[in-house]
Subunit: 296 residues, 4 copies
């Protein structure tokens, strides 16, 4: 069992840390919100006053933070952990951030012989709670292997995407594609409905044809077609529009830097920005369907 | 066994008629190209001088023609078959055309008590040859049931989409969505490649995540990722860009008429039009990937 | 002065006919709504019971109708005017319809040596009332010259776009481009506003730079930037979203038929369809700005 | 006359510095390429070994550099000019960079009471040479007034866009809109051509109608319509596709950060990225027309 420091106990980080505790690891946790810390302490976590004390005995540090600047600051800022981490520590950053910051952070830590992998997740709060997340990992093969036994506790699919930063790129690509599937499925279903088709019948036809895709098959955005998905629960739960908009922003940053052409991905970003501004940021991202189905 | 008249013996119609013959049906065939007719006659088909003679003893008429005007003319034009078809004949039109023409044709034939279903297919030449096409059928339940035993000879999945015209709508929706999947998958893969990822690794990650879709999973557009698909055969074979462009045109006509918003579908149409104009009309539609992967 | 028959006395046709009367022409009018006819009769128009009687003495027939099927029916339908029009009559169709119908109608009338030009307008109700419309004319040079003195009474700019149908194509191109200018200007202004710029200042900068365009310069969509435009009048008056959506549909039909790639035009159509479905069909088309400026 | 230090003597910076010299200012220049420096020295500029020596007597520092990181490094890097600039110096950065870097640089310099304005330009090499550039300035009113007499030497239109960073935002908005005008005009012209219209006639009609915009009216992308523009010179000269792609990247970064929806701007970025990858980076940006006009 490892000695793990865990930073960031939000909707995702909290249940991830809980799963580590349940599996018998020694986990020391940190968050700016005391209530978040208390919940984990009640499950058996330790805590401490400062980040430096948190990592005192850690072999592994995991972070789950909102944005690139938080990650960079935690490790390399004025009071960054680089000053206190032991040589050979493995840092697993599961935040969804831009790959450039992942690479810059890895390079900074490398100067003190501290290892770094980026390991963003997909699967949402439900996956974090159930321990069935997907991890997309960027880092050396050796660091990936070391991390795998830990990640297995929190996830089901652990992918090695490539070198440091590749985990972030893989997630950006996947979520950009996911948004395209969702918007495309929504407009195709509504086109059928507008021309008299039953969305259940049309969904079944397309799912069994070349239109088959994850959003159509298992996360149908049209209310009443599938049960147990956000569209049949007033678009509550699931993966918030705000988060999809954030991920699409990261994908666009990546595309701009590499001079990649992403016509459908860029358009999805703009459509989700419209949807967000119209007041739907907290709804599941499948609620984009409502933009197409509105009847004045 | 039924007495079937078959009009249109092109790349698709030819092998479809052949499968009907093989299964023991009495098939009388017609095409403007004598060689196309001769091939089928060699397999056991009958033929005759004029369309009117072709349908003389038919219980069922099948048509597989390039565009709506051909279908309308065959049945309702100046020398249309409506003048000679027996009451109670079932017309199965497998052409991919606009649903408005399907409906207009059905209504015209109805006046003489001739039954009509639209039954466009997907699955390409390979599916037509193997008898594994998908049929998307629009028509009454009774006509659908009558047709099913015939369609089963030529296809594997026989879907009842709704009333007359619904088959065409379902195909337009599916193929519009298919084009979105293809363009979206292409740009996502190239975004990964541009940022150092191996397309095989990225494809596997996304296929096992929420980016999963038919084009990524079984028809990967990036050369070298999958075997036995057009992208690994210089984009030869498969489903031609010209045909995808035609289907997207039908989808746009449908969307315009129903005031449906199809941002990604409309954009895919324009991207395929660009691809077509750049000289790629005869390549498989997955060759759109080359637009994104070009490196000046 | 000419003997003119005028069909279609709606928001546009009414004031157009009125201007013809004012200028001294002998005008006989027809509309399905008696009140519309009465208004013109009060101004000096004649009328009659049937279309055939309306055109009895006409040298020139003008039509201003909602859609292609109305135009085709008026001239070539079961009781079409072709049966009663004198040889050598000049038909001026100012309806905004698809160019294919214009061409088909011209060809039909040609068989009786009746001349036809398509002459759709821009300039709205205000332009129709003031007699300052723009006419985009398709037809022979001779017919154009004959029509010009009549059109001059109703409009300010009379353009000869080309052969029959070219007037419709020119209008479709212009209005597609107009919609792109409007959406593009709206998103550029809001991008500036979101980043702290004053829309008046930004408008002035761009109007004096390479961003200059008709919508920015004289029809600014951001409330408060210009006076006397719909955006400063709660988007009342002007050119309705519903009409822009109709014109974009005609542009898409044209693009599909000629295999033209129209990425921005197609996207504008879908954005206007979304806007329309959200309940904004009766607002001026500059109200698309509100989609971008919403703040949740 | 002022004592001016000028950093960055490329295609734009060189002629800008030359105009300052001609007007009698004392100009000390710096560039990494000795030949660029020599050209200006031949016109009367001074030079020196190091940046620190260059600014020794300067009241005003002007920079014209390729990207944000160069600007930040010049002023605030390890050997940044902040260490040697006199209190009260006015820094005019005419580079086209992201506004966030402009703001960060201004804040850094402010700590030593050094003033900063961002003043990106438009007008290209021709405008730089003729002294007819447009400057879009972000900064305090007082700094703007101080700079104006200097900027007047190099430009014709000097706009005050707002606070620091606003010049960059205004340029990003304008050039995003410019790209939309160019793509939209190109597709509208080709739609007309595909349907039989003469591009000269169509251009004149739209320029005199609501389709009027800068690219149509004075920079027509269709070869043969206008004289003296890049499209009539094989798309040589003008504003390179590579530079438009760079500016669109900056616009997208800005839009992502402010959660602004930019459907047409984002799509233009992707179309220019495709155009760039197809090998057209060095052609004028109006060459995007060739994508639409290709005939396979």
């Amino acid at each position: 069992m490892a000695n793990i420091a865990f930073f960031g106990l939000g909707n995702m980080g909290g249940p991830m840390a809980a799963n580590l505790i349940k599996s018998g690891h020694q986990v020391t946790v940190y968050d700016l919100f005391p209530e978040a810390v208390e919940k984990l302490v009640a499950l058996g976590a330790k805590t401490a006053e400062t980040p430096a004390l948190i990592v005192q005995n850690s072999d592994i540090v995991i972070s789950m933070l909102p944005a690139g600047k938080h990650v960079f600051d935690l490790y390399l800022g004025n009071e960054g952990l680089i000053q206190v981490l032991k040589e050979g520590t493995l840092v697993i950053d599961s935040s969804t951030i831009d790959s450039a910051t992942s690479i810059k952070t890895a390079q900074g830590l490398q100067s003190k012989n501290i290892h770094f992998i980026d390991a963003p997740v997909s699967g949402g709060v439900a996956g974090a709670t159930a321990g069935t997340l997907s991890f997309m990992v960027g880092g050396t093969k050796q660091n990936f292997e070391t991390a795998k036994s830990i990640l297995d506790v929190m996830g089901k699919n652990i992918f090695h995407a490539g070198n440091v930063g590749a985990g972030q790129v893989a997630k950006a690509c996947n979520n950009m594609l996911l948004s395209i599937l969702m918007v495309g499925t929504s407009e195709a279903l509504q086109l059928g409905i507008d021309n008299g088709l039953d969305p259940k019948v049309l969904s079944e036809i397309m799912s069994n044809s070349s239109g088959s895709n994850w959003t159509l098959d298992v996360y149908n955005p049209c209310p009443g077609v599938s049960e147990g998905v956000p569209s049949s629960n007033n678009y509550q739960g699931g993966f918030m529009t705000d988060l999809m908009a954030k991920d699409l922003g990261l994908a666009m940053d990546t595309a701009v830097q590499s001079h990649s052409s992403t016509p459908l991905g860029g358009l999805s970003r703009s459509l989700y920005a419209l949807h967000q501004r119209a007041g739907n940021g907290k709804k599941d991202f499948s609620s984009i369907f409502e933009q197409f189905s509105a009847k004045s």
